[in-house]
Every structure is written in structure tokens, then in C-alpha cells.
């Protein structure tokens, strides 16, 4: 982005607020528990990605920094999945 052209931060903000509203709305639905959880998680991750891409401007960073940032993410999943298998044998 060139000095005077910023991403439209206000629109990102509106997007985040609207998605939060949708989440609150969906949480009240009488869908199956699993469906609600999956939908809510997807929305939350969408919001998180928007924050990372635009507010933390990862979208405009080089690949080397992105790799650095993404590297620890698998570790967050490994431990949770491994321990969850304790319950399913």
C-alpha cells in the first residue's frame, strides 16, 4: 500500500461488527449443537483472519514474515487433538 492509500479500515470494522452480530444471532438458533459450534467457529476464525490480515497488515508483509507467523499454528492444534483422543478409545 502506498503512503496515502490505506485499506478501508472502517469497512473491516463494520465487517467484524456485523459478523459478531450474526454470531449472536446464530447462537440462539435451535440447530443441532454440532452445527452451531461449527458455524460459530468458522465465523470466529474468519474474524480472526480479518484482524490478522488487515489490522495487523499481514496481507502486506513479505512471505518470510508470514512463514514465521504461521509456523506455531500447527502446534496449537496438535496438543488439543492428541489429548482429545484420550476420550475416544
Amino acid at each position: 500500500m502506498a503512503g496515502d492509500k490505506h485499506p478501508n479500515y472502517f469497512m473491516i470494522f463494520v465487517g467484524l461488527a456485523v459478523l459478531t452480530g450474526i454470531e449472536l444471532f446464530i447462537a440462539g438458533f435451535s440447530w443441532s449443537k454440532t452445527l452451531i459450534i461449527v458455524t460459530l467457529l468458522a465465523l470466529a476464525i474468519w474474524k480472526a483472519i480479518m484482524v490478522a490480515l488487515y489490522f495487523m497488515h499481514l496481507r502486506y508483509e513479505g512471505n518470510r514474515l508470514r512463514i514465521f507467523v504461521l509456523a506455531p499454528l500447527p502446534l496449537t492444534v496438535i496438543i488439543v487433538i492428541a489429548v482429545l483422543t484420550e476420550y475416544v478409545w
Binding site: G3, Y9, F13, T20, I36, L41, I45, G62, L65, L84
Partner: protein, 221 residues
């Protein structure tokens, strides 16, 4: 992003710059990497414990006050926007906007923490603590009547630990932000060198990002 490039260019010697960004920014990203794992432990434990004994967790809204925290979530998103606006202003050399938006961020951040303290006090008053129900409290009566789970010990444990540490991070963020704001009022940040603003911004947005996940996982599920 050309301001980052200028900052790298400004580095005094021709060093091998590995990640293409200046050190303070890289350092903050690296530090956030460790924060990711810290919150993984807290949130991961919540998921695991909840999966292991779902009966110890109340349905959304039964114990926790969703409307209040929804407002709080909105506040935190607002503060993220004001933060990023402050950053955009300093990039454009708009000193007035920088100061205005930084002050707004500090105020909204402080409000978030206050609302959280209020929420904790209310929960404690109604009988929900890290150790579960308080004997003879409102919630304990509801539990005895079968409207709430019989035991919520691990619910209390995980809820207060997760949100408490998040609140602690917001508080630390506000403290650092006050420092940056003071420096901004002293005119220390310019269109070409505004590392402090960008770095505190990264931290602030990260804390916001964690809250986005926490709010969904803890309050809505």
C-alpha cells in the same frame, strides 16, 4: 508496505535482514508467537475439559451475561479500529489524528477492562467463582433446582483463568499504550519513524484477536 521498507533501509549498516522487517516489529511478532502457545494452553484445556465432562458446563447465557460481553466485544473491536486509524494517521504524518486515536484507544481499552471487572463482580455476587458455586448463592439455588449443572468447578476454573489472563493482557496493553500516547504527545513519532505505534498496534490487535476467539468459544457455545 513502503514505510516498513524505509525503516529497514534506515538500519545503520548493510546487515543481512532476514525477515525483511525492522527488529522491533520482528521482535513483537516473535513474542506474539509465544503468546499463541500460552493461550493455546488455556483455551486448549478448556476444550479438553469440556469435551471430557460436558455436564459440568452451563448452556450459553445461563450463567454468563452475554449482552454485557457482546457490548464489550464491540468495544474491543472499536479499539482495534481506532488503533489502526492512529497508525494510518502517523503514516500520513497526521499528528493530530494520531493523538486523537491513541487517546480513544486507551479510553476504550480501559472501559473494556472496567466492564470485565464489573462482570466478575456480578458473577461473584450471584455465586460463580473459579472454585464453582458459592454455597447458598443465587446460582447454587438454581443448581439445586436443576436449572443449572450440579457442579461447575471446571467451568469456573477455565472461564476465570482464560478471561482473567486475557484481561491481564488488555491491562498491560493499556499501560504500554499510555506510554506510547505520552510519546506521541511529545511528538516522537513521525511519518518515517513510528515503530512504537506499529509495534504496540500489533500487540493490541493480537489481544483483540484472542478475544474474538474467546468470546465465541466461551460465551456462545
Amino acid at each position: 508496505m513502503d514505510h516498513a521498507e524505509t525503516a529497514v533501509m534506515q538500519a545503520p549498516s548493510r546487515r543481512e535482514i532476514g525477515a525483511g522487517v525492522y527488529s522491533e516489529k520482528l521482535g513483537m511478532w516473535v513474542f506474539l508467537g509465544s503468546e499463541v502457545l500460552f493461550f493455546t494452553v488455556l483455551i486448549g484445556s478448556y476444550i479438553i475439559l469440556r469435551f471430557g465432562s460436558p455436564e459440568s458446563f452451563a448452556d450459553p447465557g445461563k450463567i454468563l451475561n452475554i449482552p454485557v460481553t457482546a457490548v464489550n466485544t464491540f468495544l474491543l473491536i472499536c479499539s482495534s479500529m481506532t488503533m489502526v486509524k492512529a497508525f494510518a494517521c502517523v503514516q500520513d504524518g497526521n499528528q493530530k489524528g494520531l493523538k486523537l486515536f491513541l487517546v480513544a484507544t486507551v479510553l476504550i481499552g480501559a472501559t473494556f477492562v472496567s466492564v470485565q471487572v464489573f462482570e466478575y463482580l456480578q458473577l461473584a455476587h450471584e455465586g460463580f467463582l473459579p472454585s464453582g458455586y458459592v454455597d447458598g448463592s443465587h446460582f447454587a439455588e438454581l443448581a439445586a433446582a436443576g436449572d443449572l449443572p450440579a457442579k461447575v468447578n471446571i467451568y469456573g476454573s477455565t472461564f476465570f483463568t482464560m478471561t482473567g489472563f486475557h484481561g491481564f493482557h488488555v491491562t498491560m496493553g493499556v499501560v504500554c499504550m499510555v506510554y506510547v500516547t505520552i510519546k506521541a504527545f511529545q511528538g516522537k513519532y513521525t511519518a518515517t519513524d513510528h515503530r512504537g505505534v506499529e509495534v504496540i498496534g500489533l500487540y493490541w490487535h493480537f489481544v483483540d484477536l484472542v478475544w474474538i476467539l474467546l468470546f465465541t468459544i466461551v460465551y456462545l457455545m
